[in-house]
Symmetry: C3
Subunit: 664 residues, 3 copies
């Protein structure tokens, strides 16, 4: 702070209806200025002031940024990666398995909690922040990985076979000679050319995150009072904003140690704002804890210059989070910093700490939320559609993508399918292999993009789901390799050939290729296919589309097979967005889904509130006034208080929102 | 040399009117073949031969390329940077602070000067060459930086506050734990995420250059005779040619130890030749030493294949240097090397050492210059316009640019403004914060591009200048941060809000944005804005342009404020070249500048010669014959000897030149 | 293998007419699981089974991929390059000069050969695989290089002069101070700025490969039986496929230790298939051993997704190899691997090991080849045209290319000339400086692209060749530097100025430049020139083309000089493909070549079989049916058995082939 202005800040927060703040995170250097010497006076001061103002506090453990003295005294705390040992300076540079780091972190956490845990302002704790493994792969991690493999495999022979290590003389003939490994065959300098081994290493690295977060949560649980929670701020695959599945953390595993899931959601803004990331991040977070509501622990206020919200967008964003099931929407951060790397990642206030248009809109949001109160909190979401994703498939897929040098990643396949559902207002949950068998039956339709690495259990569970009446849409590469990223030697699609009623043994890159089909109009069918084409022959399946191509024209591109009581649709190529829309629309019809009459940019989300009332949220994700279809609905629009009756449409202002409490 | 041809070379030089050569530079390995064993026979031979021929000699100290034995015996002489320790092989690979390097360099310089300094051929000395800090940042430099900070700040708290080090736990609680720093937050591996710290480090690195050059100059001064000079060959920001302000040297500081400023000027050629770099390099060099004439120590003869001059261009270039105030135009180099990295950076002669079209044109130039004699040397330039640049602003700006990953640098902002003045034939000087307060009053109009980091003193001096009747044009980001790259918490534009009569607290990237204004024609106004848009509200200022944008249309883009007796124009966005032309034209009118009637490609430069005669140089920077306006002028064209009288225009051949000695 | 299926594999191989397999390569970790402990049971099993089935075996020494235990116990076996020491994991990571590696490799090879060499299935041996120097440049290699230089030069002065080391103080005053060098001035970190030194180092590295392969061949020769051969699998410059001359091996030198040349040929497929790489790889391999037939040791079956052959292409490719003189066409590999980096580099079988369209076409090829038998093996090729290439020129050219940052390499110049000949059905041999003087007289026309570095001997041999009636076409940069990459100080084109009858001393990059000429139609002449333009003045030569350019229009672009009994055509710029076609067509006419009436996509290859019958192969490299001209030929089409008589054309199906046994 340029000067003491805590009271002024709190007054401005109160005026904006802000009722929770998060503190503590990344302040280790301030709270333990010298090893073993603690100073919590800043925490005390803020806790007291917030309590006085009626603002509740989430305390974060400060462990994701280490103090300078630690790096100096315990240099091995800095993680070693393929690029060498990290230098001090940035956050998230430590080896989360390092014993000194663990010892010092535990002492810090315990000292802090012992000091503050009785404070009445506290409602919960966040352990660490945006935790990942940061590619730690020094000596100790290498040894840990060998131990992990020893447990995983009954013998060296079993491992050599599973990973195909005879190739290029990579065979391991004694555990002592096991070489250094990194998370990818593309790591430079090259240590492994075996994507099976690197995928196993990546899985091991993810397991370190799960263990580390559970370890912190266990410590905090010793201090936590009744009614308080422990959360973590999970974040997604980052492409300048939250894009898709996080490759470095098994979210469903890691979330088990948390009382409630928390998430970072950053997204494009201004006229690139679509709300898709808000929905995706929310669906994923809700699914981490079995459908439970979640916290948006960080999202953008002003953010980057390209995000500075247009009038109305901040409100639209906040209510979109709520409609997805968020029970908190927290901005990162209150006010912009005056120095350092995030100077241009702006909070609600600019560096002048004065009112500005974004803050003023936040004030309006605070007032709206206060007035709506329990009508829109702890919403219950019940969806008919799920997406099955897999961190194992992601890692394995990304090793090979569509060929050496190809830039497309697993999320580039998943997102277009997710986004197509989003545009069609088909709300979704997420499943991963850890809970698929248990939960699949809750869904009418499950989308399974590129499940490139999967064990027999999950493939069998998919088969059972279809046989029992479920419907799936799955794509190229699904089932291609087993849990060890070993290509299945059975007929492809591996493990699902019978369910899908198709076979293939060759594939090409699309060139001069589009679709020949009656599922969509000609113009859409003629759009060039992307990235991958399997040369599929239908055995039992119906061919919904073939390739339009001078040579490959006799092969199937999209098929659907009746299998047991259900159906299995196979998409053997990467279609364009419009082609996906048509394919998923057909699959939705086959699955008997009830469909919304609205399409993007009108976004519709449905939920039931704590009072048992059905809510329909309608969002206008465009800069034009649009008309949302609401035929058949009666009730009340909560923001305006106006009655909805006998009307087919509702006008939504640019970036506007309506919340209809449905009474019929 | 492939064979002994010194006499032949000298004869060809003489024929071309060459009367000065520069020798010695980078020949350490030849002059000290073994440690402590000196051999100056080559120097002697060349000095004698030149003297005999009446050609004067500048001797360079040979220190910018170390001999192989030094790297072998004193490996720490090779600088350590973030990328590790340099290897032997290239030039400029040494740590200019290394004690062994200093000791050996001093012995070498003293031995050479003791040997040659009585030679009558010598007219002056060059210390080192194109000196920079080469990112030296090894242990000793790190310790030096900590000492520098200790002196700069009264306490650790003061430093932590100034640099905002609490953020991400970067707080320094004892000097011993101060971590390794490099010149940018983008240095890989990352050592600092704090642009305030890295800017301070960069300033410290620049101070090493100043100290090093002064140290060499002090040594040489001990040997220098009356009438001899010490110079340095300063070079500019390099983008395949001399582009803008040098980031690694404080030119105005470093030039203080020199008797005369020298400069490298390389520039695009053939049909990309505009002369802008010749003007910029000249204006900057002239400004280094208070308007004094300067040396063009290196410029291209043939140069690269893309530079090989069209007929006439070599003459055009030479006279352009002279018209900017150069008292020497030296080609690098005489003849092309037969080996090594600069084989294709060709001199006046190709590797066959025979006459060629470029040499033949140089002969003509030599004859012309000889015939013009003192009429065009030691020209006096008096300009009404200056540009205020700042190395501190440059460093700080470049850390953040327009966002993570943005490629635009400080010079990308400065150059379009400079170039606009150049196209309009508004000749300029340069100021930096070290002399702004003293010199500003000499100018009617001062352009201040992106003064992103500045202390209160310089901002106050700007305010005083305007208040006292000066006129400024400044841009977005000026005043945003203080001398520690800490964002000002006052209302933006920081420190100048009142002078400019505007405020802002938000900014965006332009998308679908252009200008709405009457300052220029519609087509120009409609050109899309670039890189940055501050959402400015005029308080007292007149709004000269607003944004043409669906959302941001109520904010000001260009404003002008009467403040005291002067005016302050604010450009809140990066305009296109044509838009800048209109804005600067308006500012020039407001400042009451006398304007040339010629526009680029006719370039006009004015000066007064030693005899007190006004000279007007007219250059045709195009491949077409053009007509220059000369209404109102009488006198003589010096190259042709023809009288200029009662004529409105003068025809200039493609790439042609006229020099009018004005008599009215 | 996912399960034991050797018998099934062999049955499928037999069905496809496969009669040779290659085994052993890269299986060191399996054959020597622990240091000094050998297990050849896999070899025995496969040898026995192949022998029983009548399939012959080539045994590869397994040395190009080291076992894990070796890296652990002898870490220095891993090569050190400019980037540091290699890590274990990939193949070709070792220092081929390391004494431990050599000792262990020799023991391995001797143990294996002692074990298998009596086996009747063996027809020959391959030493190592795709051997190169892998940029090994650790301490020992540096010392070896210094020794190499000591032998090469009579004194340090001679070396300093030859390499121009005075420049930038690089002079070496004692051998002890010789600094570390790497293969290019672009190696990072920079160690040398002298392309003469780096070219010498690159030549030394290539000599290591020659020595290493000869060393292995010597060992194998001790065990080899009469009638068996030793080969090596040479590979070409790799650009995602086999592109041009290999920079890391002197193929003609290294092949001397082999009984027969072997080669990798991979090439674009599907509608990018042209056959040019098949021809180039074949011509080069045939030329390595004096016109002798060669083995295609690896070529693609399915290969990458972008290569999966269209129907007919596999046959077209196989017969194209045969028509170039191949005596073996071997696919890499039999079946696709289930793990690791080459999972998507597919063999004849996919991972399901079942029949697929590519395998089925291979079956047809096997049957065709069996039925044609000796009619198409050991073909004799006699060509009138050769290309002179040079590894020294390649290395030196690539250091400088067309300027700093230019991406074009030597092969980018060579290939367009080769490809033009290929399109015109002018079959070629290759020469390099080691055999040019001896063999040149066998050719009517020799193409010499960019012979940038060459000693006087080869330039004199070229002059002699022309004087005695030979015809050459050579390009820009030929003769520019000597064998030490020192620019010749004689008039350029260095050493050939008189032969070519032209001179130049300047050059530029083409901009707005095309040709003015009557050698081609206007549209072709107007195509913009590429990369380089020498400003050539004809002294005795005829000017065939000048530059169409606003400034450089008086200089010659293409000239031809009668010199003695022959002619010398100079191409001073890089023309477009169509321009090259016209220039080479003119040169072919001047040289009195008999020309094919067919042009690409009809590819014609001629040879004489063992029975002394002339064969004309006709290939259709397009997806349309085309008509090949065969006027004047009588005989029999061998694939169909149909008579060819009194007909002017022959229809070729898409990707079709005809083989005419000529009887007239």
């Amino acid at each position: 702070m340029p000067y003491d202005r805590l009271d002024k800040d709190i007054a401005m927060m109160k005026a904006a209806g802000i009722n929770v703040v998060r503190i503590g995170e990344s302040t280790w250097g301030t709270m333990e200025p010298r090893e073993g010497e603690f100073d919590f006076s800043h925490l005390d001061r803020v806790l007291d002031a917030m309590h006085k103002a009626g603002i509740r506090v989430i305390i974060g453990t400060p462990t994701y940024a280490i103090p300078a003295w630690m790096a100096k005294r315990y240099p091995d705390v800095l993680a070693t990666t393929a690029a060498g040992q990290n230098k001090y300076g940035t956050r998230q540079n430590m080896d989360i398995t390092n014993p000194d780091f663990r010892r010092l972190a535990e002492r810090m956490i315990r000292a802090m909690l012992a000091h503050v845990s009785d404070h009445p302002a506290i409602i919960g704790y966040q352990v660490d922040n945006e935790t990942k493994h940061y590619n730690t792969s020094g000596k100790q991690v290498q040894q840990g990985f060998v131990n992990y493999l020893k447990e995983k495999f009954s013998s060296l022979d079993a491992m050599n076979d599973a990973y195909g290590l005879n190739y290029w003389s990579n065979r391991i003939n004694s555990w002592e000679e096991f070489p250094e490994v990194h998370e990818s065959v593309y790591t430079s300098p090259v240590t492994s050319i075996n994507g099976s081994v690197t995928a196993a290493f990546a899985a091991y690295q993810r397991s370190l995150v799960t263990e580390y977060l559970a370890w912190q949560a266990d410590i905090v649980n010793e201090y936590k009072k009744t009614g308080q929670f422990v959360t973590q701020n999970f974040d997604l695959d980052w492409r300048g904003y939250s894009y898709g599945i996080q490759s470095s953390v098994d979210h469903f595993e890691a979330a088990q140690a948390m009382d409630i899931a928390g998430v970072d959601i950053y997204h494009p803004g201004q006229n690139q704002l679509t709300g898709a990331e808000i929905a995706l991040g929310g669906d994923l977070s809700r699914s981490m804890k079995n459908g439970q509501n979640y916290f948006v622990i960080e999202t953008q206020a002003q953010g980057f210059p390209q995000w500075t919200p247009y009038p109305g967008q901040l409100t639209l964003q906040a209510l979109s989070h709520v409609a997805s099931g968020a029970n908190m929407v927290a901005y990162w951060h209150w006010a912009s910093t005056h120095n350092a790397i995030e100077t241009y990642w702006k909070g609600l206030l600019s560096q002048d700490y004065a009112e500005n248009p974004t803050y003023l809109e936040a004030k309006q949001i605070g007032n709206k939320l206060a007035s709506l109160g329990d009508n829109i909190t702890s919403l219950d979401k019940q969806n008919d559609v799920a997406i099955l994703f897999s961190n194992e498939a992601l890692t394995a897929f990304n090793e090979f993508s569509f060929g050496w040098g190809a830039q497309q990643k697993y999320n580039d396949v998943l997102r277009p399918f997710y986004d197509s559902l989003y545009r069609a207002n088909i709300e979704t949950d997420f499943l991963d292999p850890s809970n698929f068998a248990d939960k699949a039956e809750n869904y009418k339709l499950i989308i399974i993009p590129a499940l490139y690495s999967a064990d027999d259990n999950v493939l069998n569970a998919i088969a059972d789901y279809v046989e029992n009446g479920g419907h799936i849409v799955t794509t190229f590469k699904t089932g291609f390799t087993d849990e060890n990223v070993k290509v299945r030697h059975s007929t492809q699609p591996g493990g699902l050939s019978e369910v899908l009623g198709v076979t293939y043994s060759q594939f090409v890159h699309p060139e001069r290729a589009s679709l020949k089909t009656e599922m969509m109009n000609q113009e859409t069918a003629d759009e060039p296919l992307k990235w991958w084409m399997e040369l599929v022959t239908a055995q039992q399946a119906d061919v919904l589309a073939t390739y339009s191509h001078p040579v490959w024209k006799d092969y199937a591109a999209v098929t659907r097979n009746q299998f047991g009581k259900g159906s299995a649709t196979y998409v053997a190529t990467m279609p364009t967005d419009a082609q996906i829309d048509a394919i998923l629309s057909s699959a939705a019809a086959t699955a008997g889904l009830t469909r919304s009459e609205n399409r993007f940019p009108v976004v519709e989300k449905n939920a039931v509130n704590q009072k048992g009332k059905a809510l329909r949220f309608l969002f206008n994700y465009s800069e034009n006034t649009v008309s949302a279809t609401i035929s058949g609905i009666e009730g009340k629009e909560l923001l305006s208080g106006e009655a909805i009756a006998n009307q087919k449409t509702l006008s939504l202002a640019p970036w506007g929102v309506a919340i209809i409490e449905v009474t019929n």
